[in-house]
Amino acid sequence: MPVLRSGTQEANGENMATVASTPLPTLTPKDLSSDQDVRWCPGCGDYSILAQMKKALAGLGIPREKFVFISGIGCSSRFPYYMNTYGFHTIHGRAPTFATGLKIARPDLSVWVITGDGDGLSIGGNHLIHAIRRNVDIKIILFNNEIYGLTKGQYSPTSRIGTRTKSSPQGSVENPLRPISIAIGAEATFVARTLDVDVNHLTDTLRRAAFHKGAAFVEIYQNCKIFNDAVFEYATDKSIKADNTLYLEHGKPLVFGKDRNKGIRLRGLDPEVVTLGNGFAVDDLLIHDEKAEEPSLAYLLSRMVYPRFPECFGVFRAVERPTYESLINKQVEDVIRSKGPGKLEELFASDDVWVVR
């Protein structure tokens, strides 16, 4: 049985040191609330995400003015207006581009992109994959409610086949994208999934994303009360969720179920659900390794979809690679170090010149 295992380092905390050296401002979640009325529908999952975001950020030790929230268009993209940080509500699908430019200019800032399934994967799919593949040090939080909410309920690129909406009255015929698979395909260095209602897991996941140096992609299953209510019920309903979800832990076997008696093993190249004790022991199960050099395991986990499989939550992948802006800035610094800073006089005369008297 192949065991995908690597580092011994604890999953968390490798970037803690960089934060610890700055004096900790005593931020509370309230300090991060803007004076604007929140205008999401009652019961929207976005409220929980907003609350957990403030909780996660308050504990980071980063001063408030260093945070920038950048969003596109959609329900989720109103998010920046509600945070008392710097914020930029941009245009549909393009938030990662603004974040990239900002990060090139200002590597010192903690830049968060707030997007949704329509914004990030339909109109903005291109920018999402390129921001991820470049490994720009931004945190991309994708609120996935599998629906277009702000335009009053059309199927989205993550809607399941058969989803009936105003624009798909007979049911959507489109194969949905899996956000995690896209992120892994674009070779994201940090990929995680969490849920709006699992507040502790949500806070922890956001915090881990914040500590990651590089593009961090977090998919949040988010309930749209109005247009797509209960679409994630299998993963949120207390009576059934334990059998339908699998919480990933680095270095731990993939065990799940109400009685913790089920697991995932590898059969050939495919995952298989097995019941422990039924001829299978924990040693037969796949071991989660978020630091694996190859993203194959993470990809395989991203393909596990309810009802055939439990769906995975937690960190799929967390590896290190230099950030885009650090590489860009290094090229500038290197050339200045080796050749000295440029002088305009020399630049102007860098072609053949002649003097007219």
């Binding site: 710097y86 581009t97 990239t100 430019g101 390129h130 440029g342 003097v355």
Partner: protein, 633 residues
């Protein structure tokens, strides 16, 4: 172009004499137009560029017009694959690459066929006779060989077996036959260098630097160039050698510069003048890519270049950089400007500085990627949803791209607004001498960022100064946390507002802010009489043709003046007043009448258009004859 012989003398040719130099008559001319034309794989752009450098360094005034197909390598020898480079060099001020060609170098039948119409009657025609084979003639749709059928009798034809002579000169160098043949552009160049008595040294130096790591190619190109030169010296095909003395131009240090180079240098200079990091974000597109290439080489100057995944990402990143306090710039061409529209509208709404460079090309759609046009003016002014005013400026010559780029940056930063700079393919790829400026004499662009709340202990992002400009508060500044975005803003607070009266107020404020730029730009000046029968007014790359045509008409006694708008939005405050001083207004444009529409609409003048949409700049004669037609002469 006139090429009147001014003096005639007898002299043996000078440099590096070898073989038996023939005595040639030497004629002095004050202005000459040469065009190199060949297959796009023949290195004609390189030959033209080298000839330009040599002429500029020699001290002539120069103006160039590269003309090449969109296909990198169209099938060899076909009409579609012809690439040309025209240069006008002169002993006096010139503003255009010239109307008619005095000497045409045609490297194959296709080049002859597509370029012959521009050669003056009696002009010198140097043809590579080795390329006039049955196959090449057929590819160029020649039924008979023009070198033999008498169809070229109106020209002074000099057939030169360039392939043969070049191979002979390079025969003992260890290179493949293909590599040897690739040097033939240098043979042709050497020949024209002799014909116009140009110095070889600038090109020899270029060859030494360029091919330092490849001694065989270095030797081959060097030898090809010299062989061409010596062939001119020793052959009896030419009766005359020409001289074009240096021009008497304003004293100073000069270099040759293309519009795209000048734009890149302007950006770096502006970033120094405003003390900000230049973040140039672009997606590859003809003819703007050279700006990206140039800036990518300038990391020593702190320049960050970002090659984005698409045009939208490029403008988004530029705005993001600008939000962070850098100088955010994006560059593109017409189709790219279309894609950037929504983001430019966002920059209008959030009132952040942004420079958008549009090196215009023939449109619509993909259009004519390598040809010039001025048809994006109305797109720049109006091509966005809603009332979305931006500043628009346009350089008038390759060197002016430097000045207008700095102007565009100054306006963007001083007024917290997007600015569109309308260059074009003709300016971007064309070259002229550039008087290198004294850096210390360039005015600084003073920019400040707030560090404290501006209103009762709070920060109001849309509080404005007397010019209606808001403050540029940077992320990272404690106490000034604020949110901006594309939804309508409440006056002063910047909060989202759907209030009807607030919307109208904000629309008017944004318009007035851009209009206020007119208070900080120079008035429109006039070349020629302050009032009179006719004003020829243009914008952008037509400056050279218009100025030359008007100057000539005036020398013939007509009361005609010219003016050129470098600021298109807002226009200089005296524009309407200038227009009213002339009985008639002529507006030459490389479009169907876009400035014409603006002038008629804004100033209620009965202006008339002269419009050309052929992917080529105006000939001076085209404008001149329209001036005469209007004057009834």
């Amino acid at each position: 172009m006139s090429s009147v012989a001014r003096s005639v003398e007898e002299s043996p040719s000078e440099p590096q004499t070898r073989g038996n130099p023939v005595k040639h008559r030497v004629e002095e001319l004050d202005s000459v137009v040469v065009r190199f034309a060949g297959d796009s794989g023949d290195g004609m752009q390189l030959a033209g560029t080298q000839f330009t450098n040599a002429s500029a360094i020699f001290g002539n005034d120069i103006s160039t017009l590269p003309d090449f197909p969109a296909e990198i390598r169209a099938p060899a020898g076909t009409l579609a694959g012809v690439s040309g480079f025209q240069i006008n060099f002169s002993s006096h001020d010139i503003y255009t690459p010239g109307d008619l060609v005095n000497t045409l170098v045609a490297m194959n039948p296709a080049a002859l066929k597509t370029n012959l119409k521009d050669l003056e009657k009696g002009g010198l025609l140097i043809v590579n006779s080795d390329a006039f084979t049955f196959n090449d003639l057929r590819k160029a749709d020649y039924a008979t060989n023009p070198l033999e059928d008498g169809s070229l009798s109106g020209y002074r034809v000099i057939p030169v077996p360039i392939n043969t002579l070049n191979r002979e000169a390079l025969k003992d160098i260890r290179l493949s036959p293909r590599e040897v043949d690739r040097c033939k552009n240098f043979f042709a160049l050497g020949l024209v260098y002799w014909l116009y008595d140009r110095p070889l040294e600038p090109t020899l130096r270029w060859i030494r630097e360029k091919f330092a790591k490849n001694p065989a190619i270095l030797e081959a190109n060097t030898r090809a160039l010299k062989a061409g030169f010596h062939f001119g010296e020793t052959t009896e095909l030419f009766q005359v050698q020409y001289r074009v003395p240096p021009a008497s131009i304003k004293p100073g240090t000069y270099r040759k510069i293309t519009g795209n180079e000048a734009t890149a240098l302007g950006l770096v200079t502006a970033s120094v003048l405003c003390n900000k990091t230049l973040v140039y974000c672009s997606y590859p597109i003809t003819p703007a890519s050279d700006i990206l290439h140039a800036l990518a080489e300038l990391k020593r100057y702190g320049v960050r270049t970002f090659q984005a995944e698409d045009e939208i990402a490029a403008v988004g990143a530029a705005i993001g950089a600008s939000f962070g306090g850098a100088l955010g710039v994006t560059g593109s061409s017409g189709p790219g400007l279309c894609l950037k529209s929504e983001a430019i509208g966002l920059a209008v709404m959030v009132e952040l500085p942004l420079l958008v460079i549009d090196v215009q090309r023939g449109g619509p759609s993909t259009g004519l990627p390598t040809k010039t046009e001025q048809a994006d003016l109305l797109q720049a002014l109006f091509g966005r949803n809603g009332e979305s005013p931006v500043a628009v400026v346009a350089p008038c010559s390759p060197a002016d791209c430097f000045d207008m780029t700095i102007e565009a940056v100054r306006i963007a930063l001083r007024f917290m607004t997007p600015v569109i700079l309308l260059s074009d393919g003709y300016l971007g790829n064309g070259a002229e001498p550039w008087l290198i400026p004294d850096i210390n004499a360039l005015p600084r662009i003073e920019i400040t960022h707030p560090t404290k709340p501006n209103h009762d202990g709070q920060f109001m992002p849309y509080l404005r100064d007397a010019r209606l400009v808001r403050e540029w508060a940077l992320p990272g500044t404690p106490g000034l946390e604020h949110r901006i975005g594309g939804l309508e803003k409440e006056d002063v607070t910047g909060n989202v507002s759907y209030d009807p009266l607030n919307h109208e107020k904000m629309v008017r404020i944004r318009a007035q802010k851009v209009a206020n730029i007119a208070n900080e730009i120079p008035p429109l000046s006039v070349n020629g009489p302050e009032e009179g029968d006719l004003l020829v007014i243009g914008w952008g790359g037509t400056f050279g043709s218009i100025t030359t045509a008007v100057n000539r008409a005036r020398r013939k006694g007509l009361k005609v003046a010219s003016a050129h708008l470098r600021y298109l939005n807002p226009m200089p405050k005296n524009t309407g007043e200038v227009l009213k001083r002339y009985k008639r207004i002529l507006v030459p444009e490389l479009n169907c009448g876009q400035l014409l529409l603006l002038l008629r609409g804004r100033y209620l003048v009965d202006a008339i258009g002269l419009n050309k949409i052929q992917g080529k700049p105006f000939l001076v004669s085209e404008i001149e004859s329209e001036i005469h037609r209007l004057a009834g002469t």
